[in-house]
C-alpha cells in the first residue's frame, strides 16, 4: 500500500475564521502563477508570429534584458508589470472573482495516520464537492485591448 499526500489549503468560506498564513500564501502564489501563465501564453502566441522580446521591450520602454528577466518568471512582478507586459502584447487583463469551493482530491487514501497528521492527507472528495464546479475557475483571461482612437497631429 503506497501512501500519498495532498496538502490541502482549500477551505470553506467562513466569515468568522481567520485565514492561516498557509491559505494566504498559497492563494497569493496561485494568483501570481495565473498571471504569469496568462502573460507568457500570450507572448508565446505573439512570438510564433515573429513578435520579438526586443519589440516588446521597445513598446513598453524597457531594455531587452529586463524583458528576458521578466518573462522568465513572475518572482518580482507587480500589478504594473502585468499591465505593461500585457499591453505591450496588445491585451489587457479581464478579471472575475470566483468563490472558493471544496477541494477535489484525486486519489483515495489508505493511511491510518490521517487524523493525527499535521498534513492533511488525500481522501475522497468531500461530501459537498460539486463536480459541476469544475471549469468555473478560469477566472483570469487576457482580453485584447480596444483599439485606441487615432489622434490627428
Amino acid at each position: 500500500v503506497t501512501t500519498s499526500r495532498t496538502i490541502s489549503v482549500w477551505t470553506e468560506f467562513n466569515e468568522s475564521s481567520q485565514l492561516s498564513k498557509k491559505e494566504l500564501g498559497y492563494f497569493r502564489g496561485r494568483l501570481s502563477n495565473k498571471l504569469y501563465q496568462t502573460v507568457i501564453g500570450e507572448f508565446r502566441k505573439r512570438e510564433s508570429a515573429r513578435f520579438s522580446k526586443a519589440k516588446l521591450a521597445r513598446r513598453i520602454r524597457k531594455k531587452p534584458e529586463q524583458i528576458t528577466r521578466l518573462l522568465a518568471g513572475p518572482g518580482n512582478w507587480t500589478i504594473d508589470t502585468v499591465s505593461d507586459l500585457l499591453l505591450g502584447l496588445g491585451f489587457e487583463l479581464g478579471l472575475s472573482a470566483i468563490p472558493i469551493t471544496s477541494p477535489l482530491v484525486s486519489e483515495p487514501e489508505n493511511n491510518s495516520q490521517q487524523e493525527n497528521s499535521p498534513l492533511r492527507f488525500a481522501g475522497m472528495p468531500s461530501d459537498d464537492y460539486d463536480p459541476s464546479s469544475l471549469g468555473r475557475r478560469q477566472g483570469i483571461n487576457s482580453l485584447p485591448s480596444q483599439p485606441q482612437p487615432q489622434i490627428q497631429q
Binding site: 503506497t2 495532498t6 496538502i7 498564513k21 491559505e23 522580446k53 522568465a72 518568471g73 518580482n76 477541494p103
Partner: protein, 167 residues
C-alpha cells in the same frame, strides 16, 4: 528492476512522496516526487512554504515552466540545468517571497521530476552548490541504484512539455 518499481518502493517506505494537487481544477499532467524534507516543509503553516506548494502544484497541473538548459544561466527561470550537465540534475527555483529556495533533483522521465534536496539560495556559494549537488547525487543513487537521472542532452522538450526557454 525499473526505476518506476524503485519509485514505488520509495513511496511505500516513505522516502519519497508524490504531490497531488489539491486545487479543484485538478488534472495532473506532470508528476513530482518529493523527499520527506520537502514534504515536511510544504506542510508548514507559513507564507514561504505555501507559496512553494502553489508553484509545485502548478508544475504538476502542466502549467508553462520556464527553464534554462545552460548551467549558471538561469536568472528568473523556474528551472535550470546544473553543472556538471552529465549528472542530469536540475534545480527548481522558487524565488519569491524571500528567502529564495532551490529544490535539487532529476527527471526519471519526461514530465516526472524527483526533488531530493531543498536549500536556501542565500546560503549557497560555490562550495555549498557543489556539496548540495553531491548530496543529491548520493540521495538519487541510494534510492535508484544504477538508474541515473534522465540525461539526453540539452533539449528542454526531452524533459518537459509546455516549457518556455529563452537560452
Amino acid at each position: 528492476m525499473s526505476i518506476q518499481i524503485l519509485i514505488e518502493k520509495c513511496l511505500e517506505n516513505e522516502t519519497l512522496f508524490i504531490l497531488h494537487p489539491s486545487a479543484p481544477e485538478v488534472g495532473a499532467k506532470r508528476i513530482i516526487y518529493l523527499s520527506p524534507v520537502v514534504m515536511e516543509f510544504l506542510g508548514r503553516d507559513d507564507f514561504r512554504s505555501s507559496r512553494l506548494l502553489s508553484e509545485l502544484e502548478a508544475f504538476v497541473m502542466g502549467d508553462i515552466v520556464s527553464i534554462s538548459m545552460i548551467p549558471r544561466n538561469a536568472r528568473s527561470e523556474m528551472m535550470g540545468m546544473l553543472e556538471p550537465i552529465e549528472n542530469g540534475l536540475f534545480d527548481y527555483r522558487s524565488r519569491a517571497p524571500r528567502p529564495g529556495l532551490r529544490l535539487i533533483g532529476g527527471f526519471a522521465r519526461k514530465d516526472c521530476f524527483i526533488a531530493l534536496g531543498m536549500y536556501l539560495r542565500r546560503t549557497m556559494n560555490e562550495p555549498e552548490w557543489r556539496a548540495a549537488i553531491r548530496e543529491c547525487d548520493l540521495a538519487w543513487a541510494e534510492r535508484f541504484k544504477k538508474h541515473l537521472p534522465m540525461m539526453t542532452g540539452v533539449d528542454p522538450s526531452d524533459y518537459l512539455s509546455n516549457y518556455f526557454c529563452m537560452d
